[in-house]
Amino acid sequence: MSLAYLLKRCGLILYTLAVVSLIVFAITQVLPADAAVMLLGENATPEALVAVRARLGLDAPVWVQYGHWLSGVVVGDFGVSLRTGLPVAPTMLEALGRSLVLAGLSIALMLVVAVPLGIIAAVRRGRLADVAVSAVSYIGVSVPEFVTATIVVLLLADWAQLLPATGYVPLTEDLGRGLAHLVLPVITVSVILVAHVSRMVRSELVDVLHTDYIRAARLKGLSDRTVLFKHGLRNALLPTITIVALDVGYLLGGVIVVEEIFALPGIGRQLIVAIQSRDLPSIQAGALIMAATYSLASFLADMAYAWLDKRIQYD
């Protein structure tokens, strides 16, 4: 991997963030909501409104506003929330931390469950185990998070009374209760990911097991175990890295829904609240942070892929 490739990749991240910031700004700025009215309420005097608009820079042309906003973003200043009057950046970053715990645990759970399932289905291709895994994953990818959430709450919280249905306890405060509150959200987010990734692992491994080099390995007299784990799995899991990275985008969407349902104060819930209260600076910050998270995830996936796959020579 050359320096030029790294530079190029970093340039792409910057370009991505620039495009996203432009889109987010454009969408939010065309909103039929007047930030000044929101701040002062419906009964504000016209003079007060004009003054506030001037203070917020809302009377300037849109591209000047964008430049002003962007120059703040670059130094980590996302402005002040119209809803709470507090700076947006610290609130959002704190919320992001909570969401990352949720996302990280979900990815970990997904990998632990999905990879073995995919391997079993591929090795037992066409047999009962494969059909069962396929059926479960078809159902898994077809059930939206709000439905999964409903079902797990009905089963595990309401009926079995095992876990708390909603709420949030910081892990630093009480690790046990904190984790207990995260179980249902993590399961909910993971279901679709498990279904998707196990299908991908299965189809990649099925393809790999049909390659000439696997045949060659078998014809060298190697044991099934060696063929599968030494020759097959490595090649099948490489493309899975890319798929997992792409799924991070989907995961973030799932996080929004799940945080809303389970009243988890992460970045997704912040975004929904911000959207409902038309809190422009918060919407802009939340969306940009999410896009940045996704870009970073795919960057890391690319790096991991390049590191693991000796064939690729980036230039």
């Binding site: 792409l12 370009y15 991505t16 963030l17 620039a18 495009v19 996203v20 889109i23 987010v24 969408i27 939010t28 065309v30 909103l31 039929p32 078809y138 159902i139 990818v141 077809s142 059930v143 939206p144 998070e145 709000f146 439905v147 409903t150 079902i151 709450v153 009905l154 309401d158 985008g249 989907y250 973030l252 969407g253 799932g254 929004i256 829904v257 809303e260 975004l271 929904i272 959207i275 038309r278 919407i283 969306a287 999410m290 896009a291 996704y294 870009s295 795919s298």
Partner: protein
């Protein structure tokens, strides 16, 4: 076409998907005619009924028949998702084909921008657009369409580039054919099939996304019998009457399964290797 259907019916998943999608299509077309009650017919006498004779799937908090609401709601959910996917596919396919055809720097610029847009999660993108346009079914449709366009553009482009490398396209260019002929007569018919497969699978996703938007209160508005909205409304009565929340949830999942199965079946049926 008949050959394709025959190939499709040969695989279990293709056959199942085809059958389920046919049922869904029938409900979308004839749902209101099949429904025993109107979607908004209320009755204080029949509130919170469990499934049974008269109300096969039970009733909701206003005594409305859930089966009838689901049958009416098929249009609000499935039809909207179909239209949204069609919109996204059309926009994406045009962009992707153009990009593949232009090639070089223009192609790179378009695709880098598409990548950038794709780094906004679909749901978030749809949320932002609905927020811009206002809460309604139609706006949710447009939002999903726009959110799908970059992904479809990427797929169309990669298919178009693969077709572009085929010798029959080289033969047409060497023959001195115009660009329009090469694109529309030689390439397009070969690009359509894989894009249709992708589109079918996206319908499943669109149904889920549309229901999710309504669930979050940003899509269909009460008293519509859109399925996601029905789930959202039933959440308050979850403990009292779990049926209310179960049926619309199942409906969303079943439609998504149907289109996922059909999409995978189509992919296999169109694959010349099998």
């Amino acid at each position: 076409m008949t050959e394709l259907l025959a190939r499709l019916a040969r695989s279990p998943q293709g056959a199942l998907g085809l059958a389920l999608v046919a049922v869904v299509a029938a409900i979308v077309v004839a749902g209101p005619m099949l429904a025993p009650y109107g979607p908004d017919t209320m009755s204080v006498l029949t509130r919170y009924q469990s499934p049974g004779v008269g109300h096969w799937l039970g009733t909701d908090q206003y005594g409305r028949d859930i089966l009838s609401r689901l049958l009416y709601g098929a249009r609000a959910t499935v039809l909207m998702a179909l239209l949204a996917t069609a919109l996204g596919t059309l926009a994406g396919a045009c962009l992707g084909t153009t990009s593949a055809f232009l090639g070089g720097r223009a192609d790179e610029a378009i695709m880098r921008t598409v990548d950038a847009v794709m780094s906004i999660p679909s749901l978030l993108f749809a949320l932002l657009i609905v927020n811009l346009l206002g809460k309604s079914s139609l706006n949710a449709l447009v939002a999903i369409g726009i959110a799908f366009a970059p992904g479809m553009a990427r797929i169309t482009r990669s298919v178009a580039l693969a077709v572009r490398k085929q010798d029959y396209v080289s033969a047409a260019i060497a023959r001195g054919e115009s660009s329009a002929y090469v694109v529309f007569r030689e390439m397009l018919p070969n690009v359509v099939a894989p894009v249709v497969v992708e589109m079918t699978i996206r319908v499943a996703f669109a149904v889920m996304l549309f229901a999710t938007l309504s669930f979050l209160g940003l899509g269909a508005q009460p008293p519509a019998s859109e399925w996601g909205l029905m789930v959202a409304e039933a959440r308050r009565y979850m403990h009292l009457s779990p049926w209310m929340i179960l049926w619309p949830s199942l409906a969303v999942a079943l439609v998504a399964i149907a289109f996922n199965l059909l999409g995978d079946g189509l992919r296999d049926a169109l694959n010349p290797r099998t």
